[in-house]
């Protein structure tokens, strides 16, 4: 990605964004910045405020307070200018049932000021990109859920937006379509488009996102490059699962002691999970200490940390509050 694309003139800046629904505060003054050309994942459990944030950024929801700049345009003061460079794909976006796939793309292209040959070329390219050329004459109502999602994605990319916001874009898509979606989003980001998305398929986000934001209860808990956020949220710590030949009480006691140094949690009759900040050398030493302590440990394995655990951790933290 070239350096010129990584400026905030082509990126997204959200400052102190607050949205109230009646008495309920859906977003508590969240702030984050995404440079142009980044793929930013907004993560959080259901009801965390992701869709509200997307709708506010897309000019569909009037915020109670805050500033939103999309590629240098003030989305609150000049929404029309923001809309010209923005594409928003809501979760299960609607399509007009009385239009054919290509007619719909032509309509969207004209709404974004594309006419004549330019319009026709972009429509062709869009159908090609989402693999719907064969179904171009089908009415939108005749398409499957995944095909509709692909058609909406094509319509979002027609005018080559500088900011692309996608709420659960992979809903209803098969694995092939998901792979195509990932390729399409990477290609957009490579061209300098800022991509902001959410997905329940968190493993996909891990592959795709360059940075993430964690939302919980309308608050932005953390935001930044993916690795840094995972590390800060504690997911970067090593997690080990140990199985004992007998009851795990002795092992739990030893883990909690200064010698063990990694408080554990029982996850089964004879299984304990423990977590500690360590590198490979320290982990090897830990294995030796466990063996030497004679606790009857018969198996040890590392549990891979993931973005999914991070979100689950958030959800549990929210539930315990």
């Amino acid at each position: 990605m070239s350096e010129e694309h990584r400026s905030f003139d082509t990126g997204v800046s959200v400052r102190n964004l607050r949205v109230d629904y009646g008495r309920r505060i859906a977003l508590h003054g969240i702030s984050f910045e995404v440079p142009g050309g980044e793929i930013f994942g907004l993560l959080g459990p259901n009801g965390a405020g992701k869709t509200t944030a997307f709708r506010a950024m897309s000019t569909l929801q009037e915020p109670t307070h805050g500033e939103i700049h999309l590629a240098g345009r003030n989305a609150r003061k000049d929404p029309d200018a923001a809309r010209a460079i923005l594409a928003y794909m809501p979760d299960l976006a609607p399509l007009p049932q009385d239009l054919r796939a290509e007619e719909y793309l032509r309509f969207v292209a004209e709404c974004f000021g594309l006419w004549g040959k330019e319009r026709d070329q972009r429509v062709e390219a869009g159908l090609e990109q989402v693999d719907l050329r064969e179904r171009r004459r089908d009415f939108c109502r005749q398409l499957s859920l995944g095909m509709r999602q692909r058609l909406v994605l094509a319509s979002c990319l027609l005018h080559r937006p500088l900011v692309l916001i996608l709420d659960e874009p992979a809903s209803g898509m098969d694995p092939f379509a998901r792979a195509a979606l990932r390729d399409a989003l990477r290609a957009q980001a490579a061209q300098g488009t800022t991509v902001i998305l959410s997905s329940h398929v968190l493993s996909e986000l891990q592959d795709l996102c360059t940075s993430v934001g964690l939302l919980q209860g309308g608050r932005l808990v953390d935001a930044g490059p993916l690795r840094e956020v995972i590390h800060r949220q504690g997911v970067g710590r090593r997690r080990l699962r140990l199985r004992t030949s007998g009851p795990a009480e002795a092992l739990l006691g030893w883990l909690a002691s200064p010698e063990g140094g990694a408080p554990g949690v029982r996850v089964g009759q004879d299984e304990v999970d423990c977590q500690f900040a360590a590198n490979d050398g320290e982990q090897a030493a830990f294995f030796q200490r466990v063996g030497a302590a004679g606790l009857g440990v018969v198996a040890m394995r590392e549990i891979e940390s993931s973005i999914e655990e991070m979100v689950l951790g958030l959800h549990e933290a929210g539930g315990s509050r």
Binding site: N16, R18, D20, G22, R23, G29, S58, T59, L60, E62, T64, H65, D80, A81, R83, A84, I85, L86, Y88, P90, A93, P94, L95, P96, D98, L99, E103, F107, V108, E110, C111, F112, G113, L114, W115, E118, H159, R160, P161, L162
Partner: protein
């Protein structure tokens, strides 16, 4: 990023929304099917009328007569079916979320309004256009002057735009497509059959929204029926009926388009901005006064009272009795009742406009929180989230001015000015009778929202009147407890205020004096209630932002 080319709103053939509906609704099979039905009907109607009317009259006259069913058919397709398509179409777009997608496109709000207004009824417009050859034959054979042809079609087109604007507003406000379609049809029926009845009682401008009168005024003289140029009396002027009807429709279209424009700019915008509500109120009052004054001056406003008496006075010995009753009615009850009715309608219209511009407590909370977060943020005076109380006072003063001018004119008429003496406190009494209930309503509305306020009005203002009416009809003396029940209602206060502003009504003065106590009690009660609610409203607004 693509350089954006946005065609001007008036280039409707380049409007993407019009093109989208032209694509979807003008598919060959659909148009062919509808055209077959419409052309067959048109052919049948034209030929039947032509041959039926042709017996005994010359060909031009028969061809002219055959134009009328074609115009009616065009009216039914365009005004009835077209309005239904518009209301259902836009409600469906809203319910399915397509309006939101449309909101995200960088087309201007005007382009979107014009696009839906022209695009949604495009099938009906095409069908109406397909009937033009039948009109052309009638016009050519019937030797209709081109000026008449132009005026008739201008009125028809204006009426269609008005109807479609109404449908678009109905479908925008009501998100259920069946309800929106039904409401749009009810509005069309109201516009053509119920509103003209109201126009007889001084709401003249409303009578011109149905367009039939104006078109009939153009066509009938050609067939030797009616006067060549029908007129409308407006204050001291005599205006051409069709020009006046066109003007009334055009101004109303302007207000409706403003509503749609505001809604496309912001989904949660009030239908009227606060200044626009004042302008609308001023327009309604001005037009009503303009049409009522001539009716007042020649006494025709009260003709229906005399007609009712005449209808029920055919028995032996009834004539003298009827004469006395007519005197009491035309010189007392009817003018007073009518003046009270006008005050009540002025109150009601101010209440409706107040409900449109009043912010919810949530809107107020949002604005206050934003201000607390950033003290430099100040809402403009005209902002939707601003309190509507002062604006409601202005609305009330405008309604009061209109009402007072009308009452003054009423008392100036030759019929009444020798009989009734207005009290020196007339403006004060009228003001109290209109402003106190209006402010009570406005404060409740802003404090608890439209549902609670509506329920409050039903329980506090409508049920007592119902109880009072049942009491009177069951044989109770109206001056006993029914006067107290009815007096509880804010809607009754304009009537009571009028009754306390007059003297000299020999037969009625005792009765009117009986109303003084409930009138004062009701005014006082409403005033105290308004002050208490204002206190709670202010407290709720202060607390809401925390």
């Amino acid at each position: 990023m693509t350089p954006f080319f946005s065609p001007p709103a008036w280039q409707i053939w380049l409007n993407p929304i019009v093109r989208r509906y032209a694509t979807a609704r003008l598919r060959l099979l659909s148009v062919a099917g509808w055209s077959l039905v419409v052309q067959a009907l048109a052919a049948f109607l034209w030929l039947v009328v032509y041959f039926a009317a042709g017996k005994g009259v010359d060909r031009p006259r028969a061809a002219l007569a055959a134009w009328t069913p074609i115009l009616i058919l065009q009216g039914l397709i365009w005004l009835l079916k077209g309005t239904f398509s518009v209301a259902v179409g836009i409600a469906k777009e809203g319910a399915e979320g397509l309006s939101e997608s449309q909101r995200l496109t960088p087309l201007s709000a005007w382009q979107k309004v014009v696009g839906y207004l022209i695009g949604l009824p495009i099938l009906e417009t095409t069908l109406v256009a397909s009937l033009l050859p039948w009109s052309a034959v009638s016009i050519l054979v019937g030797q209709v002057p081109l000026a008449v042809v132009f005026r008739v079609h201008l009125l028809l087109i204006t009426s269609a735009v008005l109807h479609h604007s109404i449908g678009l507003v109905a479908g925008t406000v009501i998100r259920q497509k069946i309800v929106a379609g039904t409401v749009s049809q009810l509005l069309v029926i109201t516009l053509h059959f119920i509103v003209p009845l109201l126009s007889r009682f001084g709401l003249g401008p409303l009578g011109h929204l149905g367009v039939e009168r104006a078109i009939a005024a153009e066509l009938l003289p050609l067939q030797g029926i009616g006067t060549p140029s029908a007129k409308v009396r407006f204050f001291d002027f005599e205006l051409s009926l069709n020009g006046y009807a066109w003007l009334v429709m055009t101004i109303l279209i302007g207000f409706l388009l403003q509503i749609l424009w505001r809604r496309w700019r912001r989904a949660d915008a009030h239908l009227f901005s606060k200044p626009l509500a004042l302008a609308f109120s001023a327009w309604i009052i001005f037009m009503s006064l303009g049409e009522t004054f001539p009716l007042l001056r020649d006494g025709t406003l009260f003709d229906w009272g005399n007609r009712v008496i005449a209808k029920h006075s055919h028995g032996p010995g009834q004539a003298e009795l009827a004469g006395q009753a007519a005197t009491v009615l035309t010189q007392g009850l009817i003018p007073l009742g009518w003046a009270g009715m006008f005050g009540c309608m002025a109150l009601l219209s101010a209440m409706i406009l107040s409900a449109i511009i009043t912010p919810t407590l949530e809107q107020h909370r949002g604005a206050r929180r934003a201000h607390l977060d950033d003290p430099t943020l100040r809402l403009p005076w005209t902002g939707d989230a601003r309190s509507a109380l002062l604006w409601t006072v202005v609305l009330g003063l405008m309604a009061l001015a209109g009402w007072a001018v009308l009452v003054e004119q009423l008392l100036d008429t030759p019929l009444l000015h020798l009989v009734i003496t207005p009290s020196a406190c007339l403006p004060l009494f009228l003001g109290a009778g209109l402003l106190i209930p209006l402010l009570t309503w406005a404060i409740l509305l802003e404090w608890r929202g439209p549902k609670t306020a509506g329920l409050g009005v039903f329980v506090g203002w409508i049920i007592p009147v119902m109880i009072g009416i049942v009491g009177i009809l069951s044989g109770m003396n109206p001056t006993h407890w029914p006067k107290w029940w009815i007096g509880l209602s804010g809607f009754a206060l304009p009537f009571y205020s009028i009754s306390q502003s007059m003297s000299g009504l020999a037969d009625l003065s005792d009765t009117l004096r009986e109303l003084r106590a409930p009138w004062l009690l009701s005014l006082g009660g409403h005033a105290i209630l308004a002050v208490v609610m204002l206190f709670y409203l202010r407290r709720a607004q202060r607390v809401s932002a925390k």
